[in-house]
Amino acid sequence: MNDIIIDYIKQQLLSGQVDIDLSPEEDLLGSGLIDSLGMIQLLAFIEEKFEVKVPPQDMTIENFMTVEAIGNYLERLKTA
């Protein structure tokens, strides 16, 4: 799951940026890798790809800070 998300971010959201070697622990939000529009695109991608619905109150920094955090959150969401 992490790889699919990383691939999407690299392909779709990071056009032309330097050093796009992205690890699951990388801070997506604070480092400026993704802007707010990118975040919405990522959310739409996740919802479609993994067939989930992320409620607005779950879309928090804690759940979306890193690819790893997103992965963990999605696991919890699916088993909930």
């Binding site: 056009s15 032309g16 604070g30 400026g32 802007d35 529009l37 879309m59 928090t60 800070m65």
Partner: protein, 519 residues
């Protein structure tokens, strides 16, 4: 007497030494600390050879240190130049070169990009422990500087204080030069218009390279208020942002409309208590009334106000929204504010008849000095009227088409040129086109704007390829992303056999717009 921006901090430190000047990520810096640290930074810069008028880059994400950085730079008599931390490295190289920047204030978060800077050009970086071959000075070093008094530099109100870069039409950005006088004029006018007091808690959403940030960074210290710098992560996650707004008990909010639209849509506002908000200011682009209505219903205690003004004059009009809008008509730009006058001129620089459409020109205390090293653009951007001999009155040509209605309200009707605002940022469509056309596979390119309900205007493009050449949307986007910020990279690039033409043979951009409807 107070006539430079750092003197405002000196006064606030005298009056409220223990009060928080800036807060970010639960950390804070008091006016007393800010005063001391800006002087220490200024002394360090001077010891490195920085002189009055030098330009120093501020290459930082939203953080507490940005406040020390800008005030320390100005206290040394230098001008700060915010560098967009999200901008491609090529653009940063251009700015460093164009502006003659030798020293940067930065932070560890920028380390990947700092590694691309050349030690032959950059003489030092402050705010990091290590910068490879470039000398580095961390914040501890700054805080160990023994001298904490005002350095002996005679900074005057008409000296250069900061340069903000904005989109140019030919592929290179241009630097807007502001002085202590124009910056302080803005601080005074805005503090007075929005009744800002030392009790206020200002939410600063904009990054430093965006002129909206001058309210949080200049106007708040002018009255001794506290500015809460919204950390980058929160600007992307509305549900967390609204929690922060509640925790920090913000009294005034100022951002682009998009940030507020996202709060309406994903901010879970029904679960937050934001009764502390007294003012909601927005500017940079039009606010769709549909979302504004919803927000005004959620926060009925707050006064909503539309801010307008190109970065060249910072702000020049205001419109306090009298009641929840009942129609979807765009909001007026409003009234010209104090110490400012306007002209509405036609193509021949003649005054338009009452109620007619023309270009808005602004003469104001907040006007920039000109474009950095571009006297040609400065001359083109100004209109000089001399009514009293020896007293030329300098107006800035906004390029915005307006109409003055019978109630004295200004209305925005479009642009004279092909500049658009996307998510509050200025983008010259011709600049994007000029870059796209240099791609080796591209034969023809047309760049246009298209409308999205939530995001307002976005950039789109269509290209035809040279015979025998191959390319795809992603590689074209990557190519543009190497020289332009992400917000200027087209959301869509349509690779096509032929561009639609009008009967006259011109590229039909209207038809292209209609082909794109979703993000």
């Amino acid at each position: 007497m107070v006539y430079t921006l750092p003197q405002m901090v000196e006064v606030a430190a005298e009056r409220f030494p223990q009060k928080d000047a800036f807060r970010c990520n639960k950390a804070a810096i008091t006016y007393g600390q800010l005063h001391q640290q800006m002087n220490q930074l200024a002394h360090l810069l001077i010891s490195l050879g920085v002189q009055r008028g030098d330009r120093i880059g501020v290459y930082m994400n939203r953080s507490l240190e940005t406040a020390v950085a800008i005030y320390g730079i100005m206290q040394a008599g230098a001008a700060f130049v915010p560098l967009d931390p999200l901008a491609p490295i090529e653009r940063i190289h251009f700015l460093l070169e164009d502006c003659g920047i030798e020293y940067l204030i930065s932070q560890a978060a920028q380390r990947r990009k700092l590694a691309h800077l050349s030690p032959t050009k950059v003489k030092g970086i402050i705010g990091v422990k290590d910068a490879g071959d470039i000398p580095a000075f961390d914040w501890e070093t700054v805080q160990q500087v023994e001298k904490t008094d005002r350095p002996p530099v005679n900074v005057m109100e008409n000296d250069l204080a900061y340069i903000m870069y904005t989109s140019g039409t030919t592929g290179n950005p241009k630097g807007i030069m502001h002085t202590h006088y124009s910056g302080m004029s803005y601080a005074k006018l805005s503090a007075s218009l929005y009744n800002l007091t030392a009790e206020d808690r200002v939410g600063n959403h904009a990054a430093l390279h965006f002129d909206i940030s001058t309210f949080g960074y200049f106007s708040a210290p002018y009255v001794g208020a506290t500015t809460i710098i919204i950390p980058d992560a929160y600007t992307k996650i509305p549900a967390s942002l609204s929690t922060l707004m509640e925790t920090e008990q913000l009294t005034l909010w100022y951002s682009v409309p998009l940030a507020l639209i996202q709060l309406v849509q994903r901010g879970v506002l029904e679960e937050r208590n934001l009764q502390s908000l007294k003012w909601i200011l927005f500017g940079g682009e039009p606010f769709p009334p549909k979302f504004l209505r919803s927000l005004m219903q959620t926060w009925p205690q707050a006064q909503f106000s539309n801010v307008y003004g190109p970065a060249e004059v910072n702000q020049c009009t205001y419109y306090h929204i009298p009641a929840i809008p009942t129609t979807d008509d765009p909001l007026p730009l409003g009234y010209i504010w104090d110490n400012t006058e306007m002209l509405i001129l036609d193509e021949q620089d003649e005054m338009v008849a009452e109620g007619e459409i023309g270009e808005l020109l602004i003469r104001s205390a907040t006007r920039m000095r000109g474009y950095w090293k571009r006297p040609d653009l400065t001359e083109k951007g100004f209109f000089i009227q001399t009514k009293v001999p020896g007293m030329p009155e300098v107006f800035y040509r906004t390029g915005d088409l307006v109409r003055l209605d019978e109630d004295g309200l200004l209305h925005f009707l479009g642009r004279k040129d092909r500049q658009i605002k996307t998510r509050g940022y200025r983008v010259e469509l011709d600049e994007v086109e000029a870059i796209l056309i240099t791609h080796e596979a591209v034969e023809e390119a047309a760049v246009f704007s298209f409308k999205n309900e939530e995001y307002g205007l976005l950039v789109g493009a269509a290209v035809t390829l040279k015979e025998g050449q191959n390319s795809d949307e992603q590689s074209l986007r990557n190519y543009i992303g190497q020289s332009l910020p992400q917000y200027a990279v087209p959301q869509h690039i349509n690779i096509t056999q032929a561009l639609p033409r009008t009967a006259a043979g011109k590229i039909n951009r209207k038809a292209l717009k209609q082909q794109v409807s979703k993000i």
